[in-house]
Amino acid sequence: MRWNKEALLQRQFRITGIAVAVSLCFLVARPAEDKQLTIITPQSSFSVLLQEREGKEYIDLQNILDQLGHTSATIEGDNFKLRYDRLEAHFKSGQTSGKVGNASVQLAGKFLLENDHGLVPFASLVELLPHFTGGHAEYHEISRRLFVNGGGTRFSAELKKGTPSTLALSFTASVNPRITSEGGKLRLSFSHDPLATTAQNLKYDDPLITSLHYSENENGGEMVIEASEPLLASFSDKGKTIVLSAAPKLATATSSAETQTASGTPAANSTAATESNPNLSSTTSSGSAVLGEPSVPHTRYLIVIDPSHGGSERGAALSEKLAEKDITLAIARRLRAELNDRGLVTFMIRDSDSTISLDQRAAVTNTSRAAVYVAIHAGTLGHGVRVYTSMLPETAPAPGTFLPWETAQSGYVHNSRILAYSVIDQITKNQSKLPVAMMPAPVRPLNNIAGAAIAIEVAPQNGDAESLTNSNYQQMVANSLAAAIVSVRSSLEQPR
């Protein structure tokens, strides 16, 4: 009885072992990958399966021609007659030659007839296809792409020398590459864009951009641009142009205490450096993504000040001569000084009259991991100061590194409101009679900021737009904002 029990246990153990081994075999053994060929024409791109017969790769000819025009096939015994538009082709099963129109064609292997489909050796396709389509075909072996009749996207690169230089990449069609960066090396992966170039190596005699290398891989194409500094990619012309330029550096102005702690540099030197480089934090571009880390170490309580508009984007016309962009910059400079006096690290999105896109403003703020973002606007409607927060619903901060661009602010709405209320309090303390209001509003780019973010709109003090240039008024606004940012520091500061 006991022996029987042991035998039964041993038997069950063996069966379980075999079952586990078989399951593991199924898990480990991966199905043979179907090889595919991507065919790119000027009108479309499509994929077809390659089939292995007699040690060679074969392809269904009619399947390809169906995508390019109208086809019909007739089979009589071993004879295969294929009509493509007005052209007629004849092949015979087992033969290594055929006829397309009046031209005789040689195949790299036997023609096969299978389930009413005519298979030709894949090696013959590049020569065979132009007989039907009338153009030419170019096969890229690494990426398994066949470019027919000039299909595919081509690009050219032009280095525009300057201080700093920019590299303009022009494409014949819109592209959407995946962009990654490692220090000064920028990688553009074109897995979805059919780039017809096989390889290109360009060297530049430039202090910023030193080389461009394009090569094909099994996923498509990859372009690597090497530079001495992190680069910023700006898209324009509906994705047909990518301009690479130096990523903006954070222009820091710190208090003596923070500077000495962080780098041992006296505060006076640091501030002077910022003032002497007014264009350090400005770039010109449209529709962009910021790449690469800014060259300044992250601080836990970094304040990004955004003087809205600038350059060709004048903002509201406050009077015949007064543009919004000038008032916002004046107030922003005062705010920076006030914050620096209070020992806070700041970054100005622009410190000169330069055009910066809204996406770029948000991207720079997010990559610098700012705790606070303040966009400054000016308007002529009404009086006093209006403080705006995002209209997004308040949610808990999302875990993880990636946030949806359009709703990045969601997890920070609570903090933004704390800051907005504080600004209202401080303005009321400083000038109790000045009308102030706080409300959610659809102001770009608040929704894209991953941090406490507000926009303030400074309206005239007394109905006269010229009062916006009043230094006392501007100073009062800057002072109130700075006091508010300092007062909520303990609520907003957190490890990021």
């Binding site: 508009h309 984007e313 903002g315 509201a316 016309a317 919004e324 809204l358 606007h377 308007g379 002529t380 409607l381 009404g382 209006r386 705006y388 209209m391 619903p393 359009e406 209001a437 409300m439 959610p440 509003a441 659809p442 102001v443 770009r444 929704n447 926009a455 709109e457 309206a459």
Partner: protein, 196 residues
């Protein structure tokens, strides 16, 4: 000495030239007048084939910084997109008047309104609307909020609104108000309640 019959012929020709000249001038004046009328920015009245019904408008008042609820009697088509367009055009008519509390540029109009999934209304503004709109956070916010609140008040099934300009996505209305986002009507309505 010029013969008498030549003198008469010459005088008749001269008279003919002058009369044709006057006629041409009057034609030119008439053409100019008709062109002026055709560029009049006032939107055409809604179709009158249907019975007029009350429409709630949330009208922006710049000087007070508020949105005021108003009722207008408008003949509305039965299909939701056409209905939405007529309602918005009624609101714009208020803004296009000379005594408008929230003026917008002459020629501003709604190209069309499309319904997606019954709850999302896509409002297509004409380019004149955006190009001539006054720039400013408050001005642009009032315009966007009043349009969304008006749509939502009259067609409750509209829960979200997306705004395009000439069929294309645009970053902002006039430099400030976000046109990339899809507006949640309930959030706008809460804001509008506070602004009344």
């Amino acid at each position: 000495m010029i013969p008498r019959h030549v003198q008469i012929s010459f005088a008749l020709l001269l008279a003919g030239i002058f009369s044709v000249g006057f006629y041409m001038l009057s034609l030119k004046h008439r053409a100019e007048t008709s062109t002026w009328h055709s560029t009049d920015s006032t939107l055409l009245a809604p179709p009158v084939s249907a019975a007029a019904e009350p429409v709630t408008l949330y009208v922006a008042y710049d000087d007070l910084g508020v949105l005021r609820k108003r009722t207008a009697m408008v003949a509305l088509p039965s299909e939701t997109p056409a209905r939405a367009r007529t309602i918005l055009r009624t609101l714009l008519t208020e803004y296009l008047q000379e005594t408008s509390p929230h003026p917008i540029g002459a020629g501003s109009d709604i190209n069309d309104v499309y319904m997606v999934n019954q709850n999302l209304a896509v409002v297509d503004l004409n380019s004149t609307f955006a190009d001539t709109h006054r720039s400013g956070v408050w001005e642009e916010t009032l315009t966007v909020d009043s349009m969304i609140a008006t749509l939502s008040a009259n067609i409750p099934e509209i829960k979200q609104v997306k705004i395009l300009v000439d069929g294309q996505e645009r970053e902002t209305l006039a430099g400030h108000a976000d046109l990339i986002t899809v507006y949640d009507a309930s959030v706008v309505n809460q804001l509008v309640q506070a602004l009344q």
